[in-house]
Symmetry: C2
Subunit: 545 residues, 2 copies
Amino acid sequence: MSNKLRIIPLGGLGEIGKNMMAFEYGENILIVDTGLMFPENDMLGIDYIIPDFRYLLDKKEQIRGVIVTHGHEDHTGAINHVMGEINAPIYATPLTRGLLEVKLRDGKLYDKVKLNTIKAGDRLNIGPFTVETFHICHSIPDGVGLGITTPAGLVVHSGDFKFDHTPVDGWPTDYAKLAEFSGRGVMALLSDSTNADKPGWTPSEAVIDPAFDEVFRTAPGRILVATFASLISRIQQVANAAMRHNRKMALVGTSMVENARMAQKLGYLDVPEGLILPSEEALKMPAKKVAIMTTGTQGEPSSILGRLSTGRNRQFDLQEKDTVVLSSHPIPGNEEMVHRTINRLFQRGANVIYDPIAPVHVSGHASAEEMKLLIHLVKPKNFVPIHDELRHLNQHAAIAREMGIAPDNMAVVENGTVLEFENGKLSVGERVRGGYVFVDGTGVGDIGPTVMRERESLARDGFVLVNLRRDRKSGQIVGQPEIISKGFVFVRDSEELMAAAREKVVAVAGKANGSLPKKIEDTLAEYFYNEMKRRPMIFTMVNEV
Amino acid sequence: MSNKLRIIPLGGLGEIGKNMMAFEYGENILIVDTGLMFPENDMLGIDYIIPDFRYLLDKKEQIRGVIVTHGHEDHTGAINHVMGEINAPIYATPLTRGLLEVKLRDGKLYDKVKLNTIKAGDRLNIGPFTVETFHICHSIPDGVGLGITTPAGLVVHSGDFKFDHTPVDGWPTDYAKLAEFSGRGVMALLSDSTNADKPGWTPSEAVIDPAFDEVFRTAPGRILVATFASLISRIQQVANAAMRHNRKMALVGTSMVENARMAQKLGYLDVPEGLILPSEEALKMPAKKVAIMTTGTQGEPSSILGRLSTGRNRQFDLQEKDTVVLSSHPIPGNEEMVHRTINRLFQRGANVIYDPIAPVHVSGHASAEEMKLLIHLVKPKNFVPIHDELRHLNQHAAIAREMGIAPDNMAVVENGTVLEFENGKLSVGERVRGGYVFVDGTGVGDIGPTVMRERESLARDGFVLVNLRRDRKSGQIVGQPEIISKGFVFVRDSEELMAAAREKVVAVAGKANGSLPKKIEDTLAEYFYNEMKRRPMIFTMVNEV
């Protein structure tokens, strides 16, 4: 048997999200993360995207385990898709496990899957892999990085990390463990590239506290803080600020309420009795005595914040002197929706505070100097930038070059490109599948380029449908053709256009031999383009009568 | 007659683009700018958006002139729409005039419109308005701000500005004129808010030179610099760098070639004979001897850069060791497309350099400290933040409050809200029209919420069409119903689904009385939702035979 370690990136290399990676040694596979990706603006109608993990399906029997590094959707969201196909135990820290449990129950897989609770500092034997977990700071508690000792050498996987010296939970990234790995000799470091183009050091979560103090001190009425439902440390910071400034607090929105409840139960959220009120009670209190937390930071129209911004929230409305804090950054691609929501909140009279107006959010990912520190701490022989777009992988590689890693000891690759390690030497291997699998409703992978192109065309210019009846014997048109359109023109103002189109159909039908539908469609396409400079899809139904 | 000045923002207040404003005194109207706006991601199929200027159409006879402050699309792009409706002279500086001429010729309006060339420092009498133009720095040469003396007082309009001490053309913003206005007493300042949330001072164009020197010094092959076609100063900077580093230069792309030619003719671009080669010649030169400039900085798939990124450019392809510089920032909303283009350029082996990787672009708009300086120089009694989203108008107002402008002397309003000035006092007046007018092909304003909703629905889940024939006498279905779908499912893999759908149609048709189409559509909607969790538009054609 070859003593080759193969690392197969199935997601997250060259894109934002759906992180997933397989470590393969002989006939043993370890999966790290099973994330989803949110659709980009031109992925019309798609709900979300999962990794293409068909590579694993021929090797199901070889899969020894699935480790999930933390509880964010881009690392957990495809769990049901993966666990529906394979049979292997899952390993996760308590909070991550809790979040996975909710998903597995939703997917009716909870009873079928073996879940193992681990904690940072554990050493796990999974097939030929010895996995040592180490704590990392990130924008959700209880995240871990991995030191994976394989017969081919030690690989360190950073997870999503930052080096925060003053994290809200008081639990910094485990420098000592990283240094210990380096003492043993690290064959390869796989490190998070998300903020590779951000110079310097990502600010600590602690910088938010003074900004919150300023908001809480000066807000003339209610305070609404919107953040990610999983950002438990932010809930803690708002709770702390509420205590300091004598406000009560309420959480609104199912996902946030549930996450907070789980975090409190598991000890990741420390809030005194009586601080958090049910929202009905909080909403009855004097405006200056209450702070409400909710979700909707990405401009989602159906979120509480989205509904407040358009005056369609059920339980309560914005009121004068409300201060809304967006304690978040837009996920790339969501900028327009987020800004629209902020503008609408202003329109409705709220004062809206968001970064960069005030430092009310910090990133959960390392910036360039932290990336350098990790490389220095770990002193890897080989380096592979992981997580995020190709431009960030490239920039992370440029940083590693500055740190003295030779180009031969690095590989910037995208999903599906296998990395092989043999005798400490990195080489780029074959390409396996590693693309997008679109999930739309219950359809997984059925939507491909054809349907997407149809949706794009329909989105751009709509369609026109011509329905006519033709006498079987004479070939003559019976009655008037019917023309229906959607998404093409405003029908009520287009009677002339449509009347002319009907005349053209009749004229073409009168003298056509051969393919009548095609002739009608060509004629109308030309007519509509000349008149409107639009290119709707056109369909013709010819019914013999 | 009342001595009231009315300022009517018709565009640009509360949005990015389509800047347009009317100054109305008695029966005299002066228009400033006639811009367009680029569609947001969810404005499906829309080509561009123009201001709703119907307010002016009842008062066409009162319009005394149209001043265009600079040559960017968001200030010029609706010129044909406006000049097609009104009859008044246009005033613009030489470069702006040149760019307007191109548009007016395209729109077959050139012969009908009177164009007046003005220059910074001119004093124009337009009806009861005396307009003094003053030079401002921006990301296109020859921009002006306006001091408009009205019978109600002096109003200063900043145009799009920054305070660059070392602009490429050596022509800084006219501080002296601003100070002179302040000496006379400024009733109101209308000032550009685009970068209100950027602290500090926008870097000078001069900071780009060292970054370009570094690129030109180290690039191992060809250099491709992409920027906005109108950014003449950037063309100058690349020309200067090319000279310093012994490279020849070529411009690729019609709009850039034409703009450069016009700028050279009018003296805004200073390039020695023989530096700029025709692209065919430049492409034959050794790679290290050439720098190519082109457009496509917004990720437009049909631009040269877009086509290079997907390997579909006609004249030339990317080659190994190419360095691509994106000397630009994404226009808000374009981030995803721009980043995708960068990633694709990396995929094709180019090294891509863009801000923040290196400072190869600076904004053309003032940051917060410059906004403060303008307020200090002008010392206005009243202040109105103009240009850009509501969140930026609000932040600009917050800056003005810090500078001592009282809330009563400010108004943060959106398009269509009339501002009135009487005896030096600002008040918010009536609301007139000020919304979006969508332009799609030749249709101006015909696409409204109905068609947009149809396009959204089609984009999300496509449509299904059922065509059937029914015997006129028996009411029985004749033959099999025909089902066509687009954008809903991948037809080749959906035979079972469609066969089942046809059966359902037959079953419903067999027992239906009353509205058969509605029954079929309801049945199929339920069936498709249960099976696929998708909601296509469904249409049924029942043909009596």
